[in-house]
């Protein structure tokens, strides 16, 4: 059974979802969802722990590699799958009370089925070694997230979902056009096979067009600055639980696909030396960091504030990727993990406020620090992580990014990065001030502390941002191993 683990990661949630539609009993479905999510998390842990013996590949249907679909597990994919399934599991443990309040009862079993499908899609994008399969899983995760977002309480939720659907479909179509062009040139869909055949093809115009389409398609899915317009509304109007999960995982998996695209299929030489993608990425990410951070400062809704901050944080990941050395790539991958924890945790805090206060406007949250002290304190800790204060996870990734920028002598980038952290201080502090130092609003005055069933998972995630701020063997260590194997540096030994 051990050798079947790579496919079980996908098959278990994929089969559970239709089963839930058949069962239809919401209590049972909830229990099974939690069971499935934790099982999948267990499998990803065991997959990652087996990485020290080298990468695993699994042939679906027993068809050998370039002809059939293969699933590849290496450090990078195992690491991304680990935090996707881990956050999926912890968020679903946190979910019941919030979903009870925000989603209509008749939709619960479909809600949980969509949640699992979304997770299947994200995990599938990580594990598959077949380019067309990436597109299929991208669509599975996107379609289910459109459905999940549209279940939000207000009438603006379906509109936000439709907006996301239209833009997201454009992104997915661009990605598909790119795949089609690559297939036309190489006659294969297997990523490793495409990579080896592309070396023979001197960069033709088709290859350029394919690369451009795929890059722009993924930029839309990642919500890179000028293409981010779908994200704030989608995150703001989705049910809290959905925002926690999607904000923590979905954009990171697209970043993962982008890393694969550049470092496995097209080479960094092609992307960064023949084409000026590195300077373009750097410009996009720096402008994005500043514009989105400033936009976050002016928001009046706490969820929208975090959504803009997510757009900014994607910039840091891309900045790391654009440096194209082990240090930068390590920083980018570490930040994917750290930001998933931090933003997942912060959105979980917001979910607690949504449950007890019922409004997410900053003016209604005034003085909530007195009535909801534990929830508010979680915001402070998570916020410190987002800013990048030492001893928090955010500091680790920003430090790695900074040292990498300095080693490449990118002084302006280093200075701008530090300045942008100050903007994060402003928008996080603004909320802290409202929570602790403002006269209480009438909604906050009567609010109760969030239930333990939600606070404990929130504190596990928020606490882990401190843990991974001090102890980086399993975050930056694995990211380093992943970066080395991507850049083709043979690594000796296991983690570190």
């Amino acid at each position: 059974m051990i050798e079947q683990l790579p496919v079980l990661v996908i098959v278990i949630p994929l089969m559970a979802a239709p089963l839930f539609v058949l069962i239809g009993n919401r209590k049972l479905v909830l229990l099974l969802t939690q069971l499935v999510c934790w099982t999948v998390f267990g499998i990803t842990v065991s997959l990652l722990s087996r990485m020290q013996y080298g990468p695993i590949s699994y042939e679906l249907g027993g068809w050998p590699s370039p002809y059939g679909i293969v699933y590849n597990v290496d450090y990078l994919s195992a690491f991304v799958m680990l935090f996707v399934s881990g956050l999926g599991a912890i968020v679903i443990t946190y979910a019941p009370k919030s979903v009870e309040r925000e989603v209509h009862h008749s939709k619960h079993s479909l809600f949980y089925a969509s949640y699992l499908l979304c997770m299947t899609g994200l995990l599938g994008m990580c594990i598959t070694g077949d380019l067309f399969n990436v597109f299929v899983f991208l669509e599975i995760s996107s379609l289910s997230s459109y459905a999940l977002i549209s279940l939000g309480k207000t009438r603006r939720a379906p509109l936000a979902a439709l907006h996301y659907l239209i833009i997201g479909t454009v992104g997915a179509t661009f990605f598909l056009i790119g795949i089609g062009l690559l297939y036309q040139m190489t006659g294969t869909l297997n990523m490793a096979d495409i990579a080896s055949r592309l070396q023979a093809v001197e960069s033709s115009r088709t290859m350029l067009v394919a690369f451009a389409f795929m890059t722009v398609g993924l930029f839309i899915k990642m919500a890179v600055f000028p293409l981010h317009t779908w994200l704030p509304n989608a995150y703001t109007y989705a049910p809290s639980v959905v925002t926690c999960f999607i904000a923590a995982t979905a954009t990171k998996v697209s970043v993962y696909a982008f890393i694969r695209l550049i470092y496995v299929i097209f080479t960094p030489q092609f992307a960064f030396e023949r084409l000026p993608l590195d300077s373009a990425l750097m410009a996009f990410s720096l402008v994005g960091i500043f514009v989105a951070s400033v936009a976050a400062i002016y928001q009046t809704n706490i969820k929208r504030l975090l959504a803009y901050s997510s757009v900014a944080q994607i910039g840091y990941m891309l900045l790391g990727i654009s440096m194209s050395n082990v240090g930068g790539l390590t920083a980018g991958i570490t930040h994917m993990f750290n930001h998933a924890l931090i933003k997942g945790g912060l959105f979980m805090v917001v979910g607690c406020f949504a449950l007890r206060i019922g409004s997410l406007k900053l003016e209604d949250l005034r003085g909530a620090g007195k009535t909801m002290p534990l929830t508010s304190f979680a915001w402070v800790v998570g916020g410190l992580g987002l800013i990048g204060v030492p001893m928090t996870a955010g500091f680790v990734s920003k430090w790695l990014l900074l040292t990498s920028a300095l080693s490449l002598e990118l002084w302006p980038v280093a200075v701008l990065m530090l300045l942008s952290s100050l903007l994060a201080v402003v928008y996080i502090w603004r909320v802290v001030e409202i929570l602790y130092f403002s006269p209480a609003s009438h909604l906050a005055k009567t609010a109760k502390e969030a239930p333990m069933a939600m606070l404990i998972p929130t504190y596990i995630v928020i606490g882990s941002t401190i843990v991974f701020g001090c102890w980086t063997v399993y975050s930056a260590g694995i990211a380093h191993a992943a970066a080395e194997s991507l850049l083709g540096i043979t690594q000796m030994g296991g983690v570190q």
């Binding site: 496919v7 098959v11 979802a17 239709p18 089963l19 839930f20 539609v21 058949l22 679906l60 249907g61």
Partner: protein, 148 residues
């Protein structure tokens, strides 16, 4: 549509053949052109035609929305269940070679191995596509008209 007897009679004449053709495309798909997706669409076309001509309540009697909703999930389960069965029999996921049973297999009377696998998988696809197509029709046809 009550006042169009010709349309009603022709529809009744056509529907059995559409269904039969759907089944042909489904089950002959592993030898000729066709397969689960096309067959599902053809099969659903018969249901939709019936709904268009005889009205939504009539087609709801033939294919209740509740059942259709469950069928969308069932088809997917048939597909994935085939894969799971292959794993339980010792192969990889969807490795049909292990689907051997040895009952009435002379002259390919009953399929086995790759043939049986693709047959079951396409059946799953057919069920889901039929159900989804019908469901889309129900969703649009069942919308109440906004009176201004």
């Amino acid at each position: 549509m009550n006042s169009f007897p010709i349309i009603r009679v022709i529809t009744k004449l056509l529907i059995p053949y559409i269904l039969l053709f759907g089944l042909y495309v489904q089950f002959h798909g592993d030898f000729g052109p066709g397969g689960g997706f096309q067959a599902g669409v053809i099969f659903a076309a018969a249901l939709i035609l019936y709904g268009l001509v005889y009205g939504l309540p009539a087609v709801h009697k033939v294919a209740p929305p509740k059942v259709i909703e469950k069928l969308t999930a069932l088809g997917l389960l048939v597909y994935a269940g085939t894969g799971l069965a292959c794993m339980l029999l010792g192969g990889n996921f969807l490795d049909y070679d292990v689907l051997k049973h040895g009952i009435l297999t002379e002259n390919h009377f009953l399929p086995e191995g790759q043939h049986l696998g693709i047959f079951l998988v396409e059946l799953g696809v057919g069920i889901t596509v039929t159900a989804v197509m019908t469901m889309i029709f129900y969703a649009f046809a069942g919308r109440e008209r906004v009176t201004s």
